[in-house]
Amino acid sequence: MAQAAAANPPYDEMHAPDGSVRPHFAALARRLAALDPGELDERQRTLERFFLLQGITFTVYGAESTTERIIPTDLLPRIIPADEWAKIESGLIQRLQALNLFLADIYGERMILKDGVVPRELVLGAPSYRREMQGLYVPHQAYANVCGSDLIRQEDGAYAVLEDNLRVPSGVSYMLANREASKRTFPGTFRLAGVRQIDRYPDLLLSTLRSMVEWRPNPQVVVLTPGVYNSAYYEHAYLARLMGVPLVEGRDLVVHDNMVYMRTTTGLRRIDVIYRRVDDDFVDPLTFRRDSSLGVPGLFNAYRAGTVVMCNAPGTGVADDKAVYAYVPEIIRYYLGEEPILPNIETFLCREPSELSHVLANLDKLVVKAVGASGGYGMLIGPHATTAQREEFAEAIKADPANYIAQPTIQLSTAPCLIDGEVDTRHVDLRPFILSGEKITVTPGALTRVALRKGSLVVNSSQGGGSKDTWVLAETGADPS
């Protein structure tokens, strides 16, 4: 498979293999041809100044110093035609439906474990499994209210799911900021292309959060942030501002008689829904990590008592665990009786002895990931690694096989990007955002993440990745001239 990947060139978003421009990119290609490259460069710089001024930045924690950086934004949009999007959308809805049912099941009757579809110890032994969630009522069975799934495009152009993010996915503010940027850069092309709107996201997020407490009139919603030093702080403040709800930190909240209050200038005020951007481990030092200073003592008990709703629910991480991932197609078949619309990437679980030996024998062709890690850390890209790195990783895998999975090296598709004033191609992935409350909705847009180094497949912002706007077209085959 890896050899096959090397033989086939990656799928290019803009150009067909014969070099012709794909129809949905035609208008943009014409605009690009008419533009002087210096002009694009100038617009890029204007945009970067705009981001810096707005404080659209993320924080990079280095060994020596901490700096604020703007996320590198590429001006050229990635364009997705309507028929492709329809499939992505239905696939994502199907997947999240199944994952929510899976979460409700494993924190309830555990039928899927009893039926032997997913190994019991894989779920109950996962570090992200929260025993405390057992038997808890979650409205609409919506455990993962906000989900950001990572999709990639294989050599034949088929989309596949690389990862589900059901804990505290971030990046939606960059999706919205990138849209502002591309509207400014290509106003004419944008207008004619018939791009679907994404600016209702904050509005939809708020109704999703409110749908979790339908019995409460005028529910008080808040966004809980770890604070200004968190790398996604800008996003937390941005969402709070656009939803018009308070942005709170742990120290602003008090639990009294199993109810959650925030300290206001006029005394304590009751809270109904917490959109928390703090990891499970840190939400409540009494229940989870005792050394957490970000959380609120007693919050989990209040949650158990049903006086407050946390979104996402604690314990959703078990459904995006990298080992559980391998079973998602089975999970979809089990709960929905349907074939998965979006396929998985083939995954080897090192916990299985037969798969472990296959992985160790093919380290030079595989991508190995630590189950518990995210953000591109704890990862070996076999074909790009040195022999020494592979040997070191092999030892780590043998020491703790259950902690590793491996996947074939997949080419990510490529898209045109503006690099040093020139249009060049770079690898991209796709992170759409799915909301689930009373119903599941997919915002017609996404964060397209870009691996800025030529040939690189790593798109994480912490590892030198950038992003670009994603235009989802309203109609198929539209070629506005």
Binding site: L53, Q54, G55, R241, T265
Partner: protein, 311 residues
């Protein structure tokens, strides 16, 4: 209703921005005075440095270095760059509470001041540099006024700004007209008016009769000049009584103190103040400003939880 932490941050943004503007202005006046006679220049430098920190002989003798320190030294607690970094840090923590227009102004001046080119810009033209900072801070205040809702958050911002201003002007007046200070000459008195941004409004009120007594009267008791202490206490009282109206809880702390101080300045008589010694009067005013600051904390920010738990 707003988060206590947010109110606290907005209050401090107001204070820090006001402090930055004042320090920038004092530095500018100090540098301009170096063009005057040596004695005047030293006198002005001594006043400016004492009003915002310490006037050591070394610093008085090197006004350019002192002004650069007041503007750009990150280790200096009262420097413009420090105050603005703190204001911006607070603003970042309440980014959801202030409008983008307001944030942009503050972020811009912060970026300019902490950027790599700040030191060079200061050396190339210190006066223009300081002047631009003051103008940017006026834009910040204008943006806040024109784009933020004039509700609770805005009131905390202005409460902080006016309390800080009253204390800064009070401190300046103490340094100039306090106990044991010798008579200031005409150019120095003019410089004091410049430090309070009061020269033109003063001239309109008193004509070119620049003397200590009317200056003290103008900066202490004038009802219309926005940097007089009386004007500031009027504002403080107005914002506090509106803020207390939002609060259901009964607390008589800060607005009562502010009302009393306002009345004291409103009905003060210049003759009486001179008879009892302006130093004693200024000391009393500054002490009451300090009490109002503590009262604000007790009433709105750091109140004991036991008092506010639901029954």
């Amino acid at each position: 209703m707003m988060l206590a932490r947010v109110a606290d941050s907005l209050y401090w943004i107001g204070r820090y921005v006001e402090r930055a503007e004042h320090v920038a202005r004092l530095s500018d006046v100090m540098l301009t005075a170096t063009l005057d006679r040596a004695e005047t220049a030293a006198q002005v430098a001594r006043i400016a440095l004492s009003a915002v920190g310490e006037a050591t002989p070394d610093r008085v003798a090197n006004p350019f270095e002192s002004a650069r320190g007041l503007a750009l030294d990150r280790l200096e607690g009262n420097s413009v760059v420090t105050s603005l970094a703190r204001a911006r840090e607070n603003a970042r923590q309440v980014r959801d509470q202030i409008t983008s227009e307001t944030w942009e102004r503050l972020n811009l001046v912060h970026l300019r001041l902490s950027g790599a080119t700040a030191s060079k810009s200061f050396n190339d033209g210190s006066s223009a540099f300081l002047h631009d900072i003051i103008a940017d801070l006026h834009l910040f205040k204008g943006a806040a006024d024109a784009t933020m809702s004039h509700g609770e958050g805005w009131r905390f911002l202005l409460l902080g700004a006016h309390l800080e201003r009253a204390q800064l002007i009070g401190r300046l007046l103490e340094v100039c007209f306090g106990r044991g200070v010798e008579q200031l000459d005409h150019p120095t008195l003019t410089a004091v008016l410049r430090m309070s941004c009061a020269l033109e409004p003063y001239l309109r009120a008193y004509t070119a009769d620049v003397r200590a007594r009317p200056i003290l009267e103008f900066l202490l008791l004038n009802a219309e000049f926005p940097r007089s202490i009386r004007f500031c206490t009027d504002e403080i009282e107005a914002h506090l009584s509106m803020l207390s109206r939002h609060a259901e809880a009964v607390h008589v702390g800060p607005e009562r103190l502010a009302g009393r101080l306002k009345a004291r300045l409103q009905y003060a008589d210049m003759g009486e103040i001179e008879r009892d010694g302006s130093h004693a009067f200024l000391e009393g005013v500054l002490a009451e400003c300090g009490e109002i600051h503590r009262g604000v904390y007790d009433a709105f920010v750091a109140y004991p939880l036991e008092m506010r738990l639901p029954a």
